[in-house]
Amino acid sequence: MSAQPLPVEPESPPEPAVEPLLELRGIDVYYGRVQALRGISLYVGKGEIVALIGSNGAGKTTTLRTISGLVRPARGEVRFEDAPIHQLGAEQIARLGIGHAPEGRRLFSRMTVRENLEMGAFSRRDTRRLREDYERVYTLFPRLRERRGQLAGSLSGGEQQMVAIGRAMMGHPRLMLLDEPSLGLSPILVEAIYQVIREINADGTTVLLIEQNALMALNTARRAYVMETGSIATSGPASELLDSPEVQRAYLGM
């Protein structure tokens, strides 16, 4: 690719305040001939909540799928705990400790809630700690304890989102990728989900989350990246972006 300068030169990201857990360097992704990501670089520090916002089709989901190994980058590098992971298979990446609650929830709809959680812990052998993790999920989402024998496909949207997050938690990940956890939920449920996200983070899990509706995300995250048509347009501390007039106009509907 020619070294054409980007129309909007992104601000150089601030020096990592904490040790980076995840880092993307110059990621290009294509779907066939169509380029979906153009030179994405970002990092997520240990213990942080980082938000990735942008309008529909900007490439947020593609970014998460690239991290998880569901999509292969044509160029660039994904590093997790300082080791390149973009050559690994998706199931290997999952086993490294990256949990992913994907876009559309993608539950195993003909399995029960309990079985869905069990699948989240598929690659784990430490059955003793496993029990604690079920407890943790059921404590955070008491609804799921009630519905644990029910088929996932028959749950409401909010409950399905809880299962998706719970399933990702069951792998006991160090990094959680959440793709639009609030989509289609009532404001009360959105608040509840975000409360859980903060609690998960407080327990020591790093979080990278995507939202189209940016207000909630920016209020929760420490830092954020704004994506536009496949590249990072802006980034910075969440509080600064909340105050930025451009962001307010484009993503907060102000």
Partner: protein
């Protein structure tokens, strides 16, 4: 987001489900869903009674037994179709030929033992103990060889096409089918190939309601039922079984759960083919000969059985196999044997039209 209303649709990734008018979609299937099994059972009972009144109850009972016995073979083949379709949505046309090939394996292994001084052709019919010893040798080795064949086919012919449009692996499957048939034709000739298992399983086991049930009927039926329930327990309870179900329902989500998709799909082919191998072994004992092109007809009938039972559903495939067996036998007597294939395929069309999810296909609303 479109409503997922059928079982088959539930395994499709989002965005690929047909967006159909919800009302039309909900009312008709719900009516037929209830009515279909009732009509089917009523039809079967009616056919049974009709035969009983014209030919006597014992003949009707014997025909029921004949149907269940041939249905057991269909069921064992149908299991592999349903498993593979469930997990990669491929109608594995080569599966029927894996069945035929496995019947040849069963014959060849019998000869192979001869090299080691073990003559199964004389040992098996000599005594019950000899027979059991031969079966204990032949079942695992035939199933293993069949399973490996299935895995090789998947590895060589289907894996690379997994991301291709649906038509590509389908055509490849037809190609593999022709290839296997060609190999068998070249190696074993066109005529029925004798299995040399005369008198392996003989004699009448018991008589139920005037119907003599022979030991080879018992062998075929118990093999099918035993393996079907073992498989069901395996898929419900085991780690690999759960990985299979998860992969079938959502491949990306399975990957994100740390499931090795390639290995899981290979295992599915292994198990499905091994079951066909078990079916092939009991077939070769029961019918005592095999022909290179057997798999075409048996395969397509077994596929119909899988669709009737609800494709992707293990108990459904077994049930479908037995039902197709009984329907085809009853239908042959009532309408004439020339109608047997027509009856089976009319069944397929009726199921696809009125109850596309099959008898045991669940409808899980996905309230997204």
């Amino acid at each position: 987001m479109a409503q997922k209303t059928t079982d088959a649709a539930a395994v499709l990734p989002p965005g690929r489900q047909p967006r159909l008018d919800a009302l039309r979609l909900r009312l008709l299937p719900q009516l037929t869903a209830r009515a279909f099994p009732i009509i089917l059972v009523t039809a079967l009972v009616g056919m049974f009674l009709r035969i009983a009144t014209t030919s006597g109850g014992e003949i009707a009972g014997e025909q029921l037994k004949n149907g269940l016995q041939i249905g057991a073979i269909y069921a064992l083949i149908a299991l592999g179709y349903t498993m593979v379709y469930g997990i990669i949505e491929l109608i594995n046309f080569a599966h029927g030929d894996v069945f035929t090939l496995s019947a040849f394996y069963a014959i060849l292994f019998g000869q192979l033992f001869g090299f080691f001084g073990l003559n199964v052709t004389t040992l098996a019919p000599s005594s019950a103990g000899g027979l059991i010893a031969c079966l204990l040798l032949l079942f695992p080795i035939t199933m293993l060889a069949a399973g490996i064949t299935g895995v090789l086919i998947e590895r060589v012919a289907y894996r690379r096409l997994r991301q291709s449009p649906r038509l590509a692996p389908l055509i490849t499957a037809v190609g593999v089918s022709f290839l296997l048939e060609g190999v068998m034709f070249a190696k074993f000739g066109a005529a029925n190939y004798p299995a040399r298992k005369d008198g392996w399983v003989h004699g009448t086991a018991f008589t139920a309601g005037g119907v003599p049930v022979r030991w080879n009927d018992v062998l075929v039926l118990s093999t099918a039922l035993g393996l079907m329930f073992a498989l069901q327990a395996f898929v419900r309870g085991s780690r690999l079984g759960k990985a299979m179900r998860a992969t079938a329902q959502d491949r990306d989500a399975a990957l994100l759960s740390g499931i090795n998709i390639n290995r899981t799909i290979a295992a599915t082919f292994f198990i499905g083919s091994a079951l066909a191998g078990a079916g092939a072994l009991v077939y070769s004992i029961y019918y005592n000969s095999v022909q290179w092109n057997l798999g075409f007809r048996y395969g397509i009938i077994a596929f119909t059985a899988a669709v009737l039972g609800g494709i992707g559903n293990i108990v459904g495939a077994g049930l479908g196999g037995f039902l197709i067996g009984v329907i085809s036998v009853f239908g042959s007597q009532l309408l004439g044997g020339e109608w047997e294939n027509s009856i089976v395929f009319a069944m397929l069309i009726i199921v696809l039209t009125f109850r596309p999810v099959g008898l045991l296909g669940m409808r899980v609303p996905d309230r997204a």
